[in-house]
Amino acid sequence: MTAGERSIRTGLFPASAGGPWLIRRFAASEGAAQLLAIAVLLGIWWAFSRWGGINPFLLPSPEVVGQRLLRQFNSGELAANISATMYAAIAGFAIAVIIGVPLGLAMARNRIAGWFFAPIVSVGFPAPKLAFLPIFLLWFDVGASSKIVMVAFAAVFIVASATAAGAAYVPRPLLWSAQSLGASRTAMLWQVIVPSALPQILNGLQIALPVCLITTIAAEMYVGGAGIGGAMLAASRFANTPDVFAGLIISGATGLVLVRLIGWIRVKLLHWHAEARVK
């Protein structure tokens, strides 16, 4: 996922259309286009499952999948699965941020750290980290901790390299001005380097968070048990297509919430930055 993907603008209707302001604003928004897309897709899906002559085992109807979602919701299974997945994804993400941001800062501002970690990050960054999952299962217990370590490992290279890239190119005049005003090393770090690198750091976090969710779901499928991925794999083992479709919808919705959440955090953290003024 690149930074470009975030800039997808899906507004369908021009903001100049008539109607009250709030409705106009909604109609021009990304959300309206997506709601419309969801409605159209649901319609096509419903029509196909009803008149398409497709085996309902391969394509269950939206009603059946909706009933499964409702049943999972009522039994509490839905909440339990979503919270297990969210817990592993967010805990792994948090560890990756806590390790990755200082590591990236050190790589950019300290020659020895840069020399030591640059090749490790450049080899680790493109590697498919899921390949390490059986190793982490060997080292950590099969419950949440091996998944959390797996997720943190998958995300830490993204966070570290984005932070290092941001912190390496702090404009010199900023550093000089701060130095000439007598800023201490801590002040330089927290008041000059980190804010200046923040947009890049957040780029990294915006890429890392969906990766955390992908990794969590994959790990749950491999390990089995709790979580959205575990439930989906169990359903597919029993050739239970409606529950697999339900799982797909749940994971898409979870992904959407996480993507929106990190986007919102970016806006809040960068309200002072020039990018906030560009709409």
Binding site: G4, E5, P119, P128, L130, A131, P134, L138
Partner: protein, 257 residues
Amino acid sequence: MSFPPSPVGRAMAHLFDYVPLAILALAWEAIVRGGLVSPSVLPPFSEVVAEFFRLAGNGVIFVHAAISLRRIVIGLALAVAFGVTAGLLMSAIRPVRLVLQPLLGLLYPLPKSALVPLLMLLLGLGDSPKILLIFIGCLLPVVTNTFNGARGVDEKLMWSAANLGASRLGLFVIRFNAALPDILTGARTGVAFAFILLINAELIFGQDGLGYLIASTGGLGAYPTMFAAVILVVMLGFAADRLFGFIENRMLAWRAP
């Protein structure tokens, strides 16, 4: 440390860049040999290397690697072919954009690993569900980057070309060339995605390929083999990324730095 700018010197400097990896390997060897970590959870590095050469000698690891790479190449090639076409059409034709953009917006937040059980149910355990998974996963970065690149083409270029009598096809070619840097960025992101999704699918429902080799040897407790396969996967990912970086530089040599 500075080296003279001779070819040998530059090669030395390049090697020196990778010394930390050697330090890491030595530390790995030392903590196992020193008794800090039991060899049953972490086989010594030397043993893993020996196992790697044994598997390379009898060809086992290359058979699995070839199966995996074939899946990646087909899935990625399809994604690039479809994705570039779709991205260019989206930038040139408004109705195509209006239909595809919200669909891509829906696909973006979906964790692609969630598609694994569905594809397994619908398409079985063979090559096709894995190739389709890679195709879907790589499509998104390729389409969005192509679209953003083609949308950003300098309109003056298009006007001049149209003025000089370029055909519709000619204009399309110009759009493609202008979007090329972004297309290549998208394809490079796609390579990383292809490896993740391949390993993901092979770990969960593989019958062959490197992901299967890792999962099956891990399940049997043949840890030196498992570590050797993981190291090969990491090296392949790195090599593929570097290869794409190289292609990127060669194809964009015409561009002003």
